[in-house]
């Protein structure tokens, strides 16, 4: 469908769980999806549509029950290996300062302290955390914690960036600021992004392409290409029209 190479290809993936009650629960059925290099894809769906399950499979935390997922042409073997993740409730290390949190991944790669320092300084600039780099997560506001989480995921220079409803807990105002900043970051360091959200307008603000998942079991329902020029005006006729269409597909 696109001339760009596929960065992520999801092929006929299904996932079943055994619930605590002992019953088998089908979370996802037969999902196929290709995501091109540097593409920004939003996955939208109601709760229970398996969107987080899908993301966790791409991240390597879960294995598909059937089907295959390739990242950069290679079968996924587990988490890590350049798959950057921004978690729903952030998962910042509470005992590390913002800077140390950002440097955590590079430290694991064996990067020297001075290199690490340079990199984290760069990222702190990028996500506008100057002056807060030596604060612990609990001393930061929700939006700032969010910036740390994004910078931490970017620090390992990931092949793909997976974001699981990262702005879900923020108030509307902060959320809009973070959306703008995320787009700036994305345009300055091109990355392939998979972004999970339940907000239709958020997906239209951000995405090149919107994937709508249906429920019971989770399945691919529809796709929308978003061709509107960025930054996108939420009040423009086209925006509102698209919003109504996506919303319609969701219902």
């Amino acid at each position: 469908m696109d001339v760009r190479t596929d960065k992520i290809s999801i092929d006929a993936v299904s996932k079943q769980f055994i619930a605590a009650s002992g019953h088998k629960v089908e979370a996802l059925r037969d999902v196929s999806l290709s995501i091109g290099e540097n593409e920004f894809v939003c996955v939208v769906g109601r709760s229970g549509c398996g969107k987080s399950t899908l993301l966790n499979m791409v991240a390597g935390f879960l294995k598909p029950s059937s089907g295959s997922i390739l990242v950069d042409g290679k079968q996924i073997e587990g988490p890590g290996k350049g798959k950057g993740v921004v978690f729903q409730n952030l998962a910042l290390f509470p005992w590390l300062t913002a800077r140390k949190n950002i440097e955590f991944g590079c430290k694991q790669k064996g990067m020297s302290e001075s290199e690490r320092n340079q990199l984290s300084t760069e990222l702190i600039d990028l996500v506008h955390l100057n002056g807060f780099e030596d604060k612990y997560p609990f001393e930061l506001s929700g939006g700032m914690q969010q910036r740390v989480a994004i910078a931490r995921a970017l620090a390992i220079d990931p092949i793909i960036l997976l974001m699981d409803e990262p702005f879900g807990a923020l108030d509307e105002q902060t959320r809009m600021v973070m959306q703008t900043e995320l787009l700036q970051i994305w345009s300055s360091r091109k990355k392939t992004v998979v972004f999970i959200t339940h907000s239709v307008s958020e997906s239209i603000v951000l995405a090149d392409r919107i994937i709508v998942l249906g429920t019971n079991p989770g399945h691919l329902k529809r796709e929308f290409k978003v061709t509107l020029e960025r930054p996108r005006d939420r009040l423009s006729v086209d925006f509102v029209k698209l919003e109504a269409e996506v919303q319609d597909a969701l219902d």
Binding site: A59, G80, K83, V85, F87, P94, W95, Q108, F138
Partner: protein, 285 residues
């Protein structure tokens, strides 16, 4: 843990203007109120003794207790053992026993918490050890180590071990799984995950164990000292009883309380210094 003024600042009642006034009074004079309450209490206590409504044998008045404190410091009791000697003996026993317990319990707890099989296998023992009254083991220790210092220190070690080990196991076992996932997503090796994620994540619970154990140490040592010795604060208050010196018993209890309080404040401070992120994140919960 002792209630701090923080907890008091927000009383439940929101019943109106009178409350608001007293609240602001509270905030500016927080230290004053307890002081006034105590001054009144001590005064009433003293007067009731003087007019003969409180029997000084059962309830010596504050003025007597003050004199007794001076007497304990300058002349000592029993057999002229000075107060500071009792304090040092008790402190030495409890601190040595406590430190040995901590040095054993933390590594063992980490091991058990990390390996699930060990955790399951040791669960009956840990539950049992935690549940049995520590002092009941003293006769065995006396049989093995004789009635000297070693049996008392061994008792403290035994008593403190269980609370520290339980909390350490829980700390290692209940690391937020999302933090482990985050580490995995950044290609963290198993060893580094253990050192850089699991251990730091376990420290708040380990500290909780250290605090509980300290309280247990003071409780157990006081009882152990009542059973067979004349040195130590437990011996002091029990000997005083056999001599019908209620005043000495009460002053001794007061000293024990002060030491326990200071020690727990000390550990709080230490915690705040070593893991500032923990207390703050807890109080904001």
């Amino acid at each position: 843990m002792p209630l701090t003024n923080q907890n008091i600042e927000e009383p439940v009642s929101e019943s109106g203007a009178a409350d608001v006034v007293s609240k602001s009074f509270l905030n500016t004079h927080q230290w004053l109120q307890p002081v006034i309450v105590f001054a009144i209490l001590l005064g009433v206590w003293e007067i009731l003794s003087r007019v003969g409504m409180l029997d000084p044998f059962f309830m010596p008045p504050p003025s007597t207790l003050a004199q007794t404190l001076v007497e304990l410091i300058t002349e000592g009791f029993p057999e002229n053992i000075l107060l500071h000697t009792h304090i040092l003996v008790t402190l030495k026993r409890s601190i040595i026993g406590y430190l040995i317990a901590v040095a054993l319990a933390i590594p063992i707890g980490i091991l058990i918490g990390y390996f699930q099989v060990l955790d399951i296998a040791t669960q009956p023992f840990v539950t049992f050890g935690r549940s049995t009254a520590p002092i009941s083991i003293l006769p065995l220790f006396i049989a093995v180590f004789d009635i000297g210092e070693v049996s008392k220190i061994a008792l403290i070690t035994f008593a403190c071990f269980w609370a520290t080990v339980t909390n350490t196991i829980a700390g290692v076992k209940f690391v937020d799984p999302i933090l482990l996932r985050a580490a995995q997503s950044m290609d963290t090796s198993r060893i580094r995950t253990f050192v850089e994620v699991i251990l730091p994540a376990a420290t708040p619970r380990i500290f909780a164990g250290l605090k509980v154990s300290l309280a247990i140490a003071f409780m157990v040592i006081v009882a152990a000292e009542m059973i067979a010795t004349v040195f130590g604060l437990g011996a002091l208050i029990n000997e005083a009883r056999t001599w019908f010196r209620t005043d000495i018993t009460m002053v001794g209890m007061f000293v024990i309380g002060v030491i326990g309080y200071v020690a727990s404040i000390g550990l709080d401070r230490l915690e705040h210094r070593l893991i500032p992120w923990s207390q703050a994140s807890r109080s904001s919960e």
